[in-house]
């Protein structure tokens, strides 16, 4: 583990999903995309406990909208909730240290961004994974605070584009993650958040 608590080289290809982006995928009935992402490209979708709590909280309208398909995705192992129990599946390092690093970083980030976002980016940084999030405001706030966030940050699309975007989504998710893992993802890539990606020009 590195001094900043992150995995030096994580052989696992992970996509840490935030609530709003995941809900878009579920509402568009595109959970298959996450399956395909793992099957074809070996990229596994995971969520943090904060996101799981957010999505399943009956106080939020979204729980009634996506509760059943979300639970199905968990039960059928398309999505995994990252916890102290499951962390060992996604790292070759000491799982407890990695989990503690996520917790520590998550608590720091949650002063700046919402709980779900905070732990999504914290997990993405520590596990050297991509993050899937639609919250540009969160990325800006983390950026302004000079803290690292998920790299790259992948954004989902509005529902109306779902039919044409399925393959496009896969390509777009896979490409920056692969480039990042190969070390080819640099500032010159010139992606923008509005185009679905954010340049991972993170400090530290």
């Amino acid at each position: 583990m590195q001094a900043d608590g992150s995995n030096p080289e994580n052989p696992f290809r992970l996509l840490v999903c935030d609530a709003d982006a995941l809900i878009q995928v579920i509402c568009a009935d595109q959970i298959e995309l996450l399956k395909k992402l793992e099957k074809v490209y070996g990229i596994r979708a995971i969520i943090t406990e904060a996101v799981e709590d957010e999505i399943t909280n009956p106080a939020h309208r979204r729980a009634s909208l996506v509760g059943a398909p979300f639970q199905k995705a968990i039960n059928s192992d398309v999505l995994t909730v990252l916890s102290r129990r499951t962390i060992g599946m996604f790292t070759t390092n000491d799982p407890h240290s990695i989990y503690d690093s996520i917790e520590l970083r998550g608590q720091e980030y949650s002063r700046i961004v919402q709980r779900g976002e905070a732990y999504t980016h914290a997990a993405a940084v520590v596990l050297r994974a991509a993050a899937m999030s639609n919250d540009a405001s969160a990325v800006r706030a983390l950026d302004r605070s000079n803290v690292q966030y998920g790299a790259p940050v992948v954004r989902t699309y509005p529902f109306e584009f779902r039919t044409i975007c399925a393959e496009y989504f896969l390509w777009h998710v896979r490409r920056p993650i692969s480039m990042h893992l190969r070390g080819h993802f640099d500032e010159g890539s010139n992606f923008s958040f509005s185009d679905a990606f954010l340049v991972p020009a993170t400090p530290g």
Partner: protein, 409 residues
């Protein structure tokens, strides 16, 4: 075990989960120890309950802090305890906001210490002497003068000035109606780990501004002198009839904050009033200038022998509603006020309420503006702002979206 801690605190796990904005099913599993308490909620929960985060996460047996026993007295109800949970959650957010914006929330310590030291030599004196001295020191400290033209400055006057000063010192003031509660007001600490902040709560249900000012100062006295020993001081609408040293001192403090003998003499002289020949318009002028209800003014006037008991009794029978409404906007109902100033609609009580289903909290305007400023300066995200205001994001955008700057570029 968290379950027994909650039981001691008189809090149901379901309601607690709702107030903290987490899934009740998950909360029940954390509370029973069936699932490890995750880090995303542990610091906030620890701060709300007043226990250490490590104890909570390790599921160690801990006693509920004294504040919860105070709020389990016969006269308190579940609504009171739920209110305390929300206020302490707000205290947690305020501390985080201060740490992000670099503001100090601890200036109150100096002010309180100055006042405590100032009355040290009067410790053996009667409580009304202690309260009077403390009020005088407080007025000097916050520099409330007598010469302000209260009626011509829309938001100035002792009540506004005291609130402004207390907030700038880091004291949390919550004013909202809780119809079902017997509480008139209370004071307790929010925050933890040496970073505590006093909170003054005023139940505004059927309370006029002039009465609220008195309750505010009364609770302030408790915060200065008593909450270190008592954890929480609660005042009820129905007077128990027993007067303790603490209550007598707080009463004298509140009275002298707004209507000390000196204040009354100066105001009466400015207004050209004769104490034994006061008409209803004269009394309304005094109330409007001192910003405290008539019976508080009359009590001081009688104690200080400015009036004889007989006129005091007859003065007390006057209804000043009509005269006061003509003199002070503070006598208007909220509806009348916002009708007169429609531009201020975004700050109505309803707009400042959290959207937590089980219980709402009316947030202080300065806190909301600080959160919005933090979003506009890019220090926190919109999602975090909604979380800090305990509102769902759609409501947050509906209510305050027009006040957010477009900082996407």
């Amino acid at each position: 075990m968290m379950n027994s801690l909650l039981e001691d605190a008189g809090l149901s796990p379901e309601v607690c989960a709702s107030l903290l904005g987490v899934n009740p099913k998950n909360f029940a599993l954390w509370a029973s120890g069936e699932r490890e308490l995750p880090g995303f909620i542990a610091p906030e929960l620890a701060s709300v309950l007043g226990v250490s985060k490590d104890d909570l996460m390790a599921n160690r047996a801990v006693n509920a802090p004294a504040i919860w026993y105070k709020f389990r007295s016969e006269q308190t109800i579940a609504a009171d305890r739920e209110l305390v949970v929300l206020i302490r959650r707000l205290g947690f957010f305020i501390r985080q906001l201060n740490s992000i914006t670099g503001q100090s929330g601890n200036k109150w310590k100096i002010a309180f210490s100055v006042i405590r030291q100032g009355i040290e030599e009067y410790k053996r004196s009667a409580p009304n002497v202690q309260g009077g001295m403390a009020a005088s020191l407080f007025r000097d400290f916050v520099n409330i003068g007598f010469s302000r033209d209260v009626l011509n400055e829309r938001i100035s006057g002792p009540g506004d000035i005291i609130r402004g000063v207390l907030r700038s010192l880091g004291v949390l003031i919550i004013e909202m109606p809780i119809p079902e509660s017997q509480m008139d007001g209370c004071s307790f600490y929010v925050g933890d780990g040496g970073e505590e902040t006093p909170c003054l709560f005023i139940n505004t249900y059927r309370q006029r501004w002039f009465r609220r000012n008195y309750v505010l100062a009364h609770e302030l006295a408790h915060a200065i002198f008593d909450i270190d020993d008592e954890a929480a001081l609660i005042d009820y609408r129905k007077d128990s009839g027993q007067t303790s040293l603490r209550e007598a001192r707080a009463d004298a403090f509140a009275r002298n904050c707004f209507a000390s003998a000196k204040i009354l003499q100066v105001e009466a002289s400015k207004l050209g009033l004769e104490w034994n020949h006061l008409s209803p318009p004269d009394l309304a002028q005094l109330v409007a200038h001192c910003q405290v209800e008539l019976n508080t003014i009359l009590r001081t006037a009688e104690i200080e022998k400015l009036i004889t008991p007989d006129p005091g009794l007859s003065y007390g029978n006057h209804s000043l509603r009509k005269e006061l409404r003509a003199l002070s906007e503070r006598a208007l109902t909220a509806h009348e006020y916002f009708e007169r100033y429609p531009g201020n609609q975004q700050w109505t009580g309803v707009h400042r309420e959290t959207t937590i289903p089980s219980r709402k909290l009316r947030l202080p305007i300065p806190y909301i503006t600080s959160v919005l400023a933090a979003v506009n300066s890019g220090r926190i995200s919109e999602g975090r702002a909604a979380e800090m205001l305990m509102m769902d994001r759609d409501t947050f955008i509906d209510r305050f979206g027009h006040l957010l700057e477009d900082i996407a570029a």
